[in-house]
Symmetry: C2
Subunit: 235 residues, 2 copies
């Protein structure tokens, strides 16, 4: 099984109300790509938030203060705060910097929030792409998260449709017949990370197509990735 | 830029002293693949540890107790302990479950440790592959880590040669001209995660070839990924 990962190029700056499936299909078409069964389309949440109007003006004279207020509004719980950086839990359950509120890649004077329900966003885009293409696919919505003990950021999945979040290997055995201790792989996070390799933060490539995976057809939700409090050693 | 990720198949069970570059080249050859400039070869650490003899017998009557002793021997600091699970810092600086000591994919009665110096392991394999192929490549050694707030495991880089660990976007601007707040991408962790998509834990595919990335040529070390204590909010 060989994977290919294609950047989806030529997607213009997105505004509220834009038809993302149409923009994605147009990009695929320009690259000579037609969706086939099992394809996975990964989309950075920023263009979904913009299309859905999940943006807030940085109102008033002090944009930094306005930004900090929006971050706290989007936070259900603040785990740590140092200077301007807040590590918070969002209403979705994700723990990330600044509750996922972002000023980069946003128009001046505007903050981009996370989509209200990223699984639902993924589902809507998936259905539109499936109707247009006649193929069964999966859609993953990604964001860029830090990690407590490792420097640098990686893309992870915050919304999904048509794929399981976790690949459960329980009961499978390794090459020497021993049952695997590692039982759950966060395959959608690995897919989001892989897609980021062709996106690049500065290159305005907000989506990618991954072909060759054997994962489509699941019915997971991004909240499957949220570790429940009783399993969480680091709060 | 389209990426392709090829699983490296047909690599047999590895024992101490085995010539990994030869096994990798033989696998590539069987797939009709020759290394070209810019290729990245990702190798799961387990076969490197076995080839280097970084394994320990689970001595005595109680293998579980022997395993716990080895985990503590490999731990520089224990951050959390619950039941049989220990979250520890290794001498390399990595924070992970059971100090990276693994019983799965190991022969019965044996624990597999992390390589003593995974960057050095990566470097040696890279040099041998470069001499054999005449191409400039990168090598990444991967392991499977959990995350504090997200369920499921993902592969990350614990050793590297010929590539920078972090992609620094500082000073670059987004499509609307705003300087990016996100400045460091852990690109080698994203590469390790991408490679795992074709490996699969139960399938005995211990390596992958990634072609089409524009990252080879750096001189990073895996310890570049270790967050220094003063930046670490979660100890």
């Amino acid at each position: 099984m060989t994977l290919t990962i294609h950047p989806l190029l030529g997607i213009p700056e997105v505004s509220e109300g834009d038809d993302l499936p149409r923009l994605l299909l147009s990009s695929l078409d320009s690259a000579g790509l037609a969706l086939v069964d099992g394809d996975v389309v990964v989309i950075t949440h920023k263009i979904i938030s913009k299309a859905e109007g999940a943006v807030m003006p940085l109102a008033g004279d002090d944009e930094d203060a306005a930004y900090r207020r929006i971050v706290l509004d989007e936070s259900v719980e603040v785990l740590r705060r140092r200077g301007d950086l807040v590590i918070a839990r969002t209403r979705h359950g994700f723990i990330c910097a600044n509750a996922g509120v972002d000023r980069s890649n946003a128009a001046a004077g505007v903050a981009v929030l996370l989509p209200r329900d990223p699984d639902r966003s993924a589902h809507g885009i998936r259905r539109a792409l499936e109707v247009a293409s006649g193929s069964s696919i999966a859609v993953i919505v990604s964001d860029t998260f830090g990690r407590p003990w490792r420097r640098g950021l990686v893309d992870v999945a915050i919304g999904l449709s048509g794929v399981d979040a976790l690949l459960d290997l329980k009961g499978t055995t390794d090459a020497s017949g021993r049952e695997l201790a590692v039982t759950e792989i966060a395959v959608v996070d690995e897919i989001a990370a892989a897609a980021d390799l062709v996106m690049g933060k500065a290159d305005a490539v907000p989506a990618a197509l991954i072909r060759g995976l054997d994962v489509a057809g699941g019915e997971g939700r991004a909240t499957d990735l949220v570790r429940p409090p009783h399993e969480d050693f680091f709060r």
